[in-house]
Amino acid sequence: MARQQRRDGVQLPALGVIDIPFAAAPDLAGADRFVAPRDFIWNDTDPLDLDGHGTHVAGTIGQLTNNNIGVAGMAFNVRIMPVKVIDSLWDDILGSPFEGTDDVVARGVRYAVDNGAKVLNMSIGRSGPPAPLLQDALIYATTHGAFVSIAAGNDFEQGNPTEWPAAYANSIQGVVAVGSIGRDRQRAYYSSTGSYVELAAPGGNQRAGGTTGGILQQTFDFNFVETYVNGPARYGPPRFDIFAYQFFQGTSMAAPHVSGFAALLMQQGITSPAAVEAAMEQFSTDLGQRVAMIEYGYGLINPRASLRGMGLAK
């Protein structure tokens, strides 16, 4: 079975569906913030982030605000359901019984929906053959009232292969594949293109903008996580409780902007996943690339315009 990867441009197996850790960063945690956690890699209810990708993604969705700490998330008042469906390197080293195959991801999607998730963020994907199990899971999600945001993929410079499950997005109302732009509001060099790309959101472009051209969020201090990087002399047990603010880039970072945005729209009153997608697309900002639908889809998300919606005449 094909194996999913995270979508931040780093070739490591990582986290998944709502690939969010249960042990949360200080700028993310809050009373009753997390609901119905589930780990499909270790088959338990303690989805620990052993990578940092999920924590970063979760921060973009729901980092707290007005707390004088770090940065802010798109939807600071949402509750988060951490569902781990992708294995990280540390999961593999520690001998996790499952890995992030399509069926594991599909089970995660169905679990999240069955437990009340209204927005699913999938900063994951893979190339290769289609993933009908995921297609079915996505249809299940939308028909049960859940909107799904999927990273479009980071492999543009690797031949721009079709990415799954992103490629299902344009055939399912309420599922959106998200491409990435940098601060220059141009498609990031890595962001995959295709007819399935429906929206663009900030995902960072460190080639154009340097390190700070990425998306800043709180996640692990990788000096204490990737202890295998600096040679045997510095080998040591990893620490997953030391946090830092890190710049990441990838469509993994773009998708949670759309997920948080979707949560805001649902809070605002648009409860149908298909209508959420329509509201995003109708009010997206045309960057002048309408001809380049395969790069930006309908354009750059415009939360303010979508949340304002329509008046009588204007």
């Binding site: 009153g269 979508s306 204007k314």
Partner: protein, 209 residues
């Protein structure tokens, strides 16, 4: 139609009296009424219903040969919510949206023969309509302030003046073509309803002879 009814109709259309033909008078009036907008779906989506109260007033000049000229201003103001419409489903976004419509209308008309204490008359006119739409958290660029020109027809059964006062019921149909425009952020464009006119029924108190 019978001959008798034709004769009755012709009598009704005759001028009220020869004495009134050469009278010149000025009257003031105040009114309260209810407007049902032509753009029913658009108003219903934003305001919850396609109608609402109007208040106004004006002056009316009685002219020779049973003619009259009136200048009236009125105001409709109601607050609803901004919405999103998808596949005919209206999602209320809980962002307050206030619509204020202020027509200034010039009407010319003709008074028909009185029928007991009732003096029917009809008119036609032109109106200048100011439409404002503002919403919570909006900027000046978000708000709409537009002025449009429209036209209207009205018919009025009025009671004869007594001690300088008279009552009237005024039924008016108006059209303001493209008054709602076709902005992509307006529900009017979703429903293809662009006319800002409607049907208004008013009760008037007229002061003066």
């Amino acid at each position: 139609m019978t001959r008798a009814s034709i004769v009755a109709a012709l009598l009704l259309l005759l001028p009220a009296s020869s004495r009134a033909q050469n009278q010149f008078s000025i009257r003031g009036f105040g009114d309260v009424g209810l407007t049902v907008f032509t753009a029913t779906q658009s108003f219903k989506a934003v305001l919850g219903k396609p109608s609402g109260p109007v208040f106004g007033g004006g002056v009316e000049a009685g002219l020779p040969k049973h003619l009259f000229l009136s200048l009236a201003a009125s105001r409709f103001r109601r607050t609803g919510h901004r919405v999103f419409v998808f596949e005919n489903q209206v999602f209320n976004l809980n962002v307050a949206d206030t619509i204020t419509i202020t027509p200034l209308e010039l009407t010319g008309g003709y008074r028909f023969r009185s029928w007991g204490r009732i003096v029917p008359y009809a008119g036609v006119g032109i109106g200048w309509l100011k439409c404002e739409e503002t919403s919570a958290h909006s900027t000046a660029a978000d708000d709409a302030k537009t002025t449009h020109t429209g036209y209207h027809l009205l018919g009025v059964p009025r009671s004869r003046s007594r001690n300088g006062c008279a009552g009237a019921v005024d039924a008016q149909w108006s059209s303001v073509p493209n008054g709602l425009g076709d902005a992509s952020t307006g529900v009017a464009s979703v429903y293809h309803e662009h006319d800002l006119g409607g049907f208004t029924l008013r009760a008037k108190i007229i002061v003066g002879r």
